[in-house]
């Protein structure tokens, strides 16, 4: 596909405690992010053991945040996020992706 259809961007995927998601979004807003997608009620396994959203008594939940942005923005986000990731509890992955031109450019 030609380059006027696809714009190469970075895809950032963050998993945090659902309770910390507001703080994460504040951090993203502060970094002038223009778009993201949030999926709540996720479970998982990590350094703090298993987290199960359907558990009868504990109901620990993660939230998954996906965002596409340009390389520079990505660097800014990663830098801001790194130090706070422990507090939020979770992980952050970065990979390459291509934005399909046509949608309003909220990246």
């Amino acid at each position: 596909m030609s380059s006027d259809v696809l714009i190469p961007l970075k895809r950032i995927e963050i998993v945090v405690d659902e309770d910390s998601v507001e703080k994460l979004l504040d951090l993203l807003h502060a970094a002038n992010v223009r778009g993201y997608t949030v999926i709540k009620h996720a479970g998982g396994l990590g350094s703090r053991g298993e987290r199960r959203p359907d558990d009868y008594a504990l109901q620990e939940r993660n939230a998954l945040v996906i965002l596409a942005c340009d390389e520079k923005q990505a660097e800014r986000i990663v830098t801001a996020l790194r130090t706070r990731l422990k507090e939020f509890g979770g992980m952050c992955l970065v990979s390459d992706c291509n934005w399909v031109v046509g949608a309003s450019g909220s990246y």
Partner: protein, 325 residues
């Protein structure tokens, strides 16, 4: 025996049976949460109403007893877990905290049984129900701190955690709902209360049945985790409520001097252990402890034991004590 044929207990058995034969019966998770909210408000309102005719000053001994149970029983549990079972200190602290607290489900089942036999009871046990969660969480923190000291490694940032958990112990949604509903039940006028009675009292016992069916399924699920938990802990989950029950019986009969119904309820409070407010508090306070230990004990061992064997037995003994004078 016939006291086992109370619908609430039968529905608990229904849920457990469905789970054990691996039926696909499952209640939506939100249904459980909604029922808990409803039941807590219902107990609270009812409890608050009962206070209108009971001098509040007389509640003081019940409050003392509640604090006594909340602090004393976890310490006993901790000593047994460490001394007899050689359980890891932090796991011991987390488990112990649960036994200082109470199970609202067990309490309501006991109330259902008393009601179905037309046995009256005092207004004060419900205030103990509301109070006992908080000291149990506190003492859990203290035991965890002690455990960390003897293990040599203090967790950093623990002080902030302490403040956080003290707040949690008092702003926990379930405790708050119970307390505030009690207040509302106390202040509303009689005609006002009559308008909301059909919802909060009329259908209460029926809703409790669905709650216990759900608890039965959960208890059944936990049974498969007995192996992971080990023989000692499963036994502890039966012995500890019996120890608690002994204290409850003595305190209820000799110190508080309640009627048969009241003694039964005080015993249930001492013998039961939390599965609502304490587990998330311990998960936060003692992340190193294995949650499947305390949850399996609380939901899979002690709760079913109390529902099926404990409650009717406590009532029988309370009757015997009353007969002794």
């Amino acid at each position: 025996m016939s006291s086992l044929l109370v619908p609430a207990i039968l529905f608990f058995a229904l849920g457990m049976f469905a789970c054990l034969i691996k039926s696909d019966l499952k209640f939506p998770p939100d249904m459980h949460k909604m029922i808990v909210i409803y039941l807590l408000v219902g107990i609270g309102l009812h409890g608050g109403r009962a206070f209108i005719n009971s001098p509040i000053g007389d509640a003081l001994p019940a409050v003392f007893a509640a604090f006594g149970f909340g602090i004393g029983l976890p310490i006993i549990a901790y000593i047994i877990l460490r001394g007899v079972g050689r359980i890891n200190p932090l796991d011991s602290a987390a488990i112990a905290a649960h036994y200082g607290s109470v199970s609202a489900g067990t309490y309501m089942t006991a109330v259902a049984m008393l009601n179905s036999m037309n046995v009256t009871y005092e207004a004060y046990p419900v205030i103990m129900l509301a109070i006992m969660e908080s000291p149990a969480i506190m003492i859990g923190l203290v035991l965890a701190g002690y455990s960390r000291k003897i293990m040599g490694g203090a967790k950093k940032g623990e002080k902030g955690m302490m403040g956080h958990l003290v707040r949690e112990a008092f702003t926990n949604g379930s405790i708050l709902l119970l307390f505030l509903s009690m207040g509302i039940g106390y202040v509303v006028s009689e005609p006002s209360y009559h308008k909301i009675e059909p919802f909060f009292e009329g259908i209460f016992m029926g809703v409790l049945c669905l709650f216990l069916a759900d608890m039965g399924m959960e208890a059944g699920k936990r049974i498969s985790e007995f192996k992971k938990v080990g023989v000692f802990l499963v036994c502890f989950g039966v012995v500890m409520p019996i120890i608690g029950a002994c204290f409850g019986m003595l305190v209820g009969h000799y110190y508080l001097q309640y009627s048969v119904g009241g003694v039964t309820l005080v015993t249930v409070l001492a013998a039961s252990c939390s599965y609502i407010a304490v587990p998330p508090a311990m998960r936060l306070a003692i992340p190193e402890a294995n949650p499947s230990f305390y949850l399996t004990l609380s939901l899979g061992v002690t709760f079913p034991f109390n529902i099926v064997i404990g409650v009717p037995t406590y009532y029988a003994i309370a009757q015997y004590l009353a007969g002794q004078g």
